[in-house]
């Protein structure tokens, strides 16, 4: 027994095991407990596209990484400090990634002959016989000890082994001085109707914790609370935050939410989350396909609701024609693309930023529309609220880009109170007085926004459609000059959205710096870490991160042109960089990674340093 405790500023733990081993549950419980303990954190799950890939193989390894600390945490961490490996495959896949001096926690039962073979080791090869010297190992007979702890319960072997993940979790809680109570509360709620399962889960967690107490000369770790800005916090994933942003926009606009979706990874969780909140008058419609999802949303928008559909790359391709219709009808609509690796079916569970140009340009005809990108799991809330605001107040479809990394990743969120959220004011048409002139559905206000007249309003009966509209009346018109006028009006209306933006702010640095790194989407954290490190070393590097990608902010050109060098890191082969070069004649350089994996801060730092040294 020992109680030697060391204090660390931050730790990165990578949980890995078979996709049936309960890795995501262990990871999310560790996250929840850590958040409640007051640390800053960031998480990233990494799972195979198959539900149950062949057991015990490297292809079937499911991972969950958490980076937490008493200092500001911007990313789920690069190389982990701790690897939890439930089997040989999980070990094999991740061991090379571990930091020097790192810790390995493993279940020895996962390293038997069969598991070693499934993991692809040679018959005479046992990785535990040749462990890297620089790592510290906790080889625990998890399966055996766990079975012993549950031996008097009426459970088969298979059922007993199901809570192995909780044994390991209990051990980690011991190692990092975390309380068991939040997880016990969660398990009690989850298994309310299955008393034996609840008992088993509780015992496994406690047994893992007690086990830690029995090890000689064990070093435990303490990670102090982080200094976060004062306020109320909760932990949140991107998809949940996005859903809450939509619900909040519904409440603050007084328009019921209508969400239509077709199941697709990694967007489905938005459908799952929203379908739990029907008490907000929010309807969720699981459509027969992606096209029906967007067109049903258009129908609901015509009927006066805050209409939203979400999907991922391939589904976005299917929604293209519907987007064009919504743009022509000038109806509010939010279309969320939770990007994943493409093209085609691509990498469904991996992350990428390769649908930006699709969002900007992927429609027939002259068809610009607002495009926004969320930059962190918690930021998905504000960005969804903002997308809904723009759609409703400017009567336009809006594309919101998220991605797999944001959708499933989590972080603490200082949530706002409802009063901190500005009311959203859609341009609803007033009921006409008797004898009023006929309703002109495409009459515009000074922002070029038309009115929203809803079926059921007497005297405002009108027809809309995908054919070109006559200015003001909205009648079908093939007149050449009218078409050009309408194309320009629609584009100008979208441009006017930029008038609402706050002044563009640098995330770090100033206009006096030599290099500006411009990002969008989930790369915010990695770029932040890279820029912070460089600035600490005295390099004159600034950071800018774009939320509103189209229309671009009015003060953006001047800001970009004030820097001698501009670097645009993107998880694609160069998409935002084309927009910046085309629009602003900026000689920007790109940094591209197309591996389905996020940037490491090092990669950005190295590229930036190269640019600075060439200067």
């Amino acid at each position: 027994m020992s109680d030697q405790t060391q204090t660390l500023p931050k730790v990165t733990i990578h949980f890995a095991g078979d996709s049936g081993d309960g890795i995501q549950l262990a990871g999310s419980q560790f996250t929840n407990t850590t958040a409640l303990a007051g640390n800053d954190l960031s998480t990233f799950p990494d799972f195979p596209a198959e539900i149950r890939a062949p057991m015990g193989t490297v292809a079937g390894v499911s991972g969950f990484q958490i980076n937490f600390g008493s200092e500001a945490i911007e990313t789920p961490g690069g190389r982990p400090d701790v690897l939890v490996a439930m089997n040989a495959a999980a070990y094999r896949k991740n061991i090379g990634n571990l930091k020097s001096g790192g810790v390995v926690v493993l279940d020895t039962a996962g390293f038997d002959k069969r598991n070693l073979k499934l993991a692809g080791y040679q018959p005479d090869e046992n990785p535990l016989a040749h462990k890297p010297d620089h790592l510290q190992f906790y080889e625990i007979e998890v399966t055996k000890l766990n079975r012993e702890a549950l031996s008097d319960l009426e459970l088969g072997r298979k059922e007993q082994d199901r809570s192995r993940n909780l044994f390991v979790l209990g051990f980690l809680y011991f190692l990092y001085h975390r309380p068991l109570q939040p997880t016990l509360d969660f398990l009690r709620d989850k298994f309310e109707s299955q008393p034996v399962v609840w008992e088993a889960n509780k015992r496994s967690l406690q047994a893992g914790h007690h086990y830690g107490d029995t090890i000689e000369a064990l070093t435990r770790y303490r990670i102090e609370k982080a200094e976060l800005p004062p306020g109320e916090y909760r932990n949140v994933t991107g998809n949940v935050a996005l859903s809450l942003g939509l619900l909040a926009a519904s409440v603050r606009s007084g328009r019921h939410l209508f969400y239509a979706g077709y199941p697709i990874t990694p967007a489905s969780d938005i459908l799952h989350e929203l379908s739990r909140h029907k008490n907000y008058g929010a309807q969720t419609f699981q459509a027969e396909d992606e096209i029906a999802a967007i067109t049903a949303a258009i129908g609901a928008s015509f009927g006066g609701q805050l209409a939203v559909t979400a999907t991922s790359g391939p589904g976005m391709a299917l929604k293209t024609e519907g987007l064009g219709l919504a743009l022509m009808l000038e109806l509010p609509l939010v279309v969320v693309n939770v990007q994943r690796g493409g093209p085609s079916t691509g990498l469904p569970t991996k992350t990428e930023q390769s649908d930006l140009q699709q969002a900007l340009y992927g429609r027939n005809g002259e068809s610009p529309l607002p495009v926004l990108a969320a930059s962190s799991p918690a930021d998905c809330f504000q960005t969804a609220f903002e997308a809904a605001r723009i759609a409703l107040e400017h009567m336009t479809p809006v594309i919101l880009l998220s991605d797999g990394y944001l959708a499933n990743g989590s972080e603490p969120w200082r949530f706002p109170s409802s009063e901190q959220l500005n009311p959203i004011q859609p341009p609803l048409a007033k009921n006409p007085q008797d004898g009023a002139a006929p309703h002109r559905p495409y009459r515009r206000d000074e922002r070029l926004v038309r009115e929203w007249a809803l079926p059921g309003q007497a005297g405002l009966e009108h027809r809309v459609g995908g054919l070109e509209k006559e200015v003001e009346t909205g009648h079908v018109s093939y007149h050449p000059e009218n078409h050009e006028t309408m194309v320009r009006l629609r584009a100008h209306k979208v441009q006017n959205v930029a008038a609402d933006y706050p002044a563009t702010q640098l995330v770090q640095g100033s206009e006096e710096d030599n290099l500006l790194i411009v990002g969008w989407g989930h790369t915010l954290g990695a770029i932040k870490v890279a820029v912070r490190r460089m600035r600490e070393k005295g390099h004159k590097v600034a950071q800018l991160h774009l939320k509103h990608i189209w229309p671009t902010a009015q003060d953006l050109p001047a800001l970009l042109q004030s820097f001698p060098q501009v670097l645009v890191p993107e998880l694609n082969d160069g998409q935002l960089i084309h927009l910046l070069r085309d629009r602003f004649l900026v000689d920007a350089q790109g940094l591209h990674k197309i591996q389905g994996r996020p940037f490491l801060a090092d990669e950005i730092e190295n590229e930036a340093l190269k640019m600075l040294s060439n200067d």
């Binding site: 409640l36 007051g38 939040p182 976060l228 800005p229 004062p230 306020g231 109320e232 916090y233 909760r234 932990n235 809450l244 909040a248 409440v251 019921h256 209508f258 909140h277 029907k278 008490n279 907000y280 008058g281 309807q283 419609f285 459509a287 027969e288 096209i291 029906a292 999802a293 067109t295 049903a296 949303a297 258009i298 129908g299 609901a300 928008s301 015509f302 009927g303 006066g304 209409a307 024609e321 519907g322 064009g324 009808l329 949530f415 706002p416 109170s417 409802s418 809803l454 079926p455 059921g456 309003q457 007497a458 005297g459 405002l460 009966e461 027809r463 809309v464 459609g465 995908g466 079908v476």
Partner: protein, 336 residues
């Protein structure tokens, strides 16, 4: 919803200020005119009526109705209508589609609309041709049809729209004709009064690209021998009472009453019998009379009603909306 009681409308109140641009002699004119005549009789406030269409000649229909309307995109009107009806269940929503729009590019949406039983009325104008694209064979064209895209004859076996609707579990299935205004009006009225999706196939003549496709069902001299009118509780008689239909096992049989067939053996129309409705839909050959009228009708819970009930139940179970508590979630903490 408006509180004004429905005014007493006239047909012209439903006519928009837009010039109707179908080809002279097109069957669509008749359908438009009967629609404008039947709506005043239904007692629905004009502002509560919405016509939603896809793409094709028939889909221009909403522009000519002085109601709310949307000319949407090809094949998707059933999905648009579903979203609209869910958003506002008080509306009277009509889907105007054609054989190409509804059964080819939009077949998927139509099938799902029917099975869900959203309370909208679908009018499928069937002219057995692609008219707006100037004369290609459609999914209801007869096999071997010579058209611009099938100079050697089309290879496709045609859809039977009513069998399609019944197979999709539609709760109201009817067939009528552009050339029989009274019948058309009666069917439209019944379709609107039905709670659930009403599927109405309208045989519509395209006098430019497929003239006379339904002539034997509309021509005064021929129609009696080729059509059978469905009246609930009445025997299936045609050819001016000379012939009738009976069911032999699961097989419809034409019987000659003049040759001594007994009147009491005849098949009596029961629109609530789905098996018999299917047999009626299969009267599709050249020798068999085509059934006109309501083949099938059942009372079934509607989708938007079920959706509304869930919203209400959620309020009762979860409680009224409370944005602050929603944002706070189950596990929050305070940093001071």
């Amino acid at each position: 919803m408006t509180e004004t009681p429905p005014t007493k409308y006239k047909a012209k109140d439903f006519s928009s200020d837009q010039e109707v641009k179908w080809c002279p002699g097109c069957g669509d004119y008749s359908i438009l005119s009967q629609m404008q005549k039947v709506l005043p009789e239904l007692g629905i406030a004009r502002e509560n009526i919405v016509f939603v269409s896809g793409i094709g000649c028939s889909s221009r229909f909403p522009y000519y109705m002085n109601t709310y309307g949307m000319h949407s995109i090809h094949g998707r009107a059933p999905a648009v209508a579903t979203g609209l009806k869910l958003a506002n269940p008080d509306l009277s929503v009509w889907v105007i589609t054609g054989d190409g729009d509804g059964l080819s590019i939009g077949g998927n949406h139509l099938a799902h609309l029917l099975r869900r039983n959203v309370d909208v009325n679908v009018l499928l104008f069937n002219n057995e041709i692609y008219g707006l694209t100037k004369g290609q064979y459609s999914p209801t064209s007869e096999q071997g049809k010579y058209t611009k895209s099938s100079p050697l004859g089309s290879l496709d076996h045609p859809f039977n729209p009513l069998a399609f609707a019944l197979g999709s579990d539609a709760s109201f299935v009817a067939r009528t004709l552009d050339r029989d205004p009274t019948h058309l009006r009666d069917v439209l009225q019944a379709a609107e009064q039905h709670r659930g999706t009403s599927f109405v196939e309208v045989y519509q003549n395209c006098n430019v690209f497929n003239d006379g496709a339904f002539q034997i069902f509309t021509d005064k001299k021929q129609k009696a021998a080729h059509t059978v009118s469905l009246v609930p509780g009445e025997p299936l008689l045609f050819d001016e009472g000379r012939k009738g239909l009976k069911i032999n096992g699961l097989k419809p049989e034409i019987v000659d009453l003049q040759a001594g067939a007994a009147h009491d053996e005849l098949w009596v129309h029961d629109p609530e019998d789905p098996a018999k409705a299917y047999l009626l839909s299969r009267l599709f050959g050249e020798e068999e009379p085509r059934a006109l009228g309501i083949l099938y009708q059942e009372e079934r819970f509607t989708y938007e009603q079920a959706a509304q009930n869930q919203l209400q139940k959620a309020q009762e179970v979860i409680g009224p909306p409370d944005l602050d508590s929603l944002l706070r979630g189950k596990h929050s903490w305070t940093v001071s």
